[in-house]
């Protein structure tokens, strides 16, 4: 073996042989946190994800399509206090607008005329596809949902037919999420945390 390759092989072998032990209480710490997460999941859905603490970051406001929708829905929420859900449509989140201080009603719009169902997942609903289904509002494939969000920065993406993850074409994207896929980013209000 050439000496230079031998050096690399010996380095790799040394590192491969290395057994790094975790702290004796590592498993307990992980499971304690997991159990806390599971209790949050078990709590009544909407209130749980609206009230739990989360990391909030700041970035420029999301794309025009989203922003354009916001104004109309915010006005609606201010007047009526809730989001209107047509009879027969999948039930999107409907929450009193004033239930959390400073929250804003954000309308998300997605266009796909071949989808049979569309959901939105993100930081605001623990990436749970069952929480926030969009409703189809036109025969041209326009899907929409309005979600009350406290000021802050959120990552999200749409899920088409329960299988295909599609970032919002009208919003900025992250480079990648924890799972190697790009997400869209929306900033609500003038959050500074």
């Amino acid at each position: 073996m050439h000496e230079s390759d031998e050096v690399i092989e010996r380095v790799a072998m040394t590192l491969r042989r290395e057994a790094v032990a975790v702290s004796p209480d590592f498993d307990a710490r992980v499971m304690q946190q997991v159990r806390e997460e599971s209790r949050q999941v078990a709590a009544p859905g909407v209130w749980r994800w609206m009230t739990r603490s989360r990391t909030v970051r700041v970035s420029p406001l999301a794309g025009l399509a989203v922003a354009a929708g916001v104004a109309g829905v915010v006005a609606l929420a201010a007047r009526e206090g809730t989001v209107d859900v047509p009879a027969g449509a999948p039930a999107p989140v409907a929450i009193p607008a004033a239930s959390v201080p400073n929250q804003q009603m954000m309308q998300f719009v997605f266009v796909n005329d071949s989808a049979s169902k569309v959901a939105i997942v993100g930081d605001f609903n623990d990436w749970d596809e069952g929480v926030s289904p969009l409703r189809r509002v036109s025969d041209k494939g326009v899907w929409t949902i309005t979600i009350p969000l406290a000021p802050g920065r959120y990552q999200y993406t749409f899920v088409v037919d329960g299988t295909t993850w599609v970032p919002d074409p009208g919003a900025p994207r992250t480079l990648e999420d924890d799972f190697g896929r790009p997400n869209s980013v929306i900033t609500v209000g003038d959050a500074t945390t």
């Binding site: 230079s4 380095v11 042989r17 790094v20 997991v34 990436w127």
Partner: protein, 188 residues
């Protein structure tokens, strides 16, 4: 399911149990993957303490997003991808600490006794050399030469193209050779 059968259950079975509400089944997955993955995180971050924090974060994030695990049979690979990202975040946030590659002295001594050619000094030199590598080169080198992944697997984990990965590994190897050749020769 008994403890013994749970310990032997495939990942997909355990993931299904967790999603069905059996939170404790997740502990089996934690035990199954912690040892190998903490090694990678320690090599990346240079500190067992930081590695444990990143690994704990990865386990919790994986639990939180378990419904998004598209192939539960490959839970381990999915978790590893999360961990790689957590290591990147942790590395960027804190930088590598001055006290890099922290290792338990007893563990090092035991390792040296098991493999006499692996002296503590040699291991410390490796640690310093790894520390000097840019994070993306260190990551590529560890995944290729220590975790023994193929370039295609590394690409899937990191989201980086195979050509770029090969270049990173080559540069990492060049730097490690330059820094360690002399020390290595002196050992013999």
């Amino acid at each position: 399911m008994t403890d013994r059968s749970a310990a032997a259950a495939p990942d997909a079975v355990l993931v299904r149990r967790v999603l069905d509400g059996d939170v404790e089944a997740y502990a089996v997955l934690v035990v199954r993957y912690r040892a190998r993955y903490v090694r990678f995180a320690t090599h990346m971050l240079g500190s067992v303490e930081d590695a444990e924090e990143a690994l704990q974060d990865a386990f919790v994030r994986a639990y939180r997003s378990l419904a998004r695990c598209e192939d539960p049979e490959r839970f381990g690979s999915w978790l590893f991808r999360i961990l790689v990202n957590r290591c990147r975040t942790a590395g960027a946030r804190r930088g590598r600490r001055e006290r890099t590659i922290v290792h338990d002295e007893i563990a090092l001594r035991d390792a040296a006794e098991d493999h006499p050619e692996e002296s503590v000094a040699w291991r410390e030199e490796i640690g310093r050399a790894l520390e000097r590598l840019p994070a993306e080169q260190r990551e590529a080198f560890l995944l290729k030469h220590v975790e023994d992944l193929s370039y295609e697997e590394i690409s899937a984990v990191t989201g980086v193209g195979v050509s770029a990965l090969k270049m990173r590994v080559k540069r990492a190897c060049d730097r490690l050779r330059d820094q360690l050749r002399e020390v290595y020769s002196a050992r013999e």
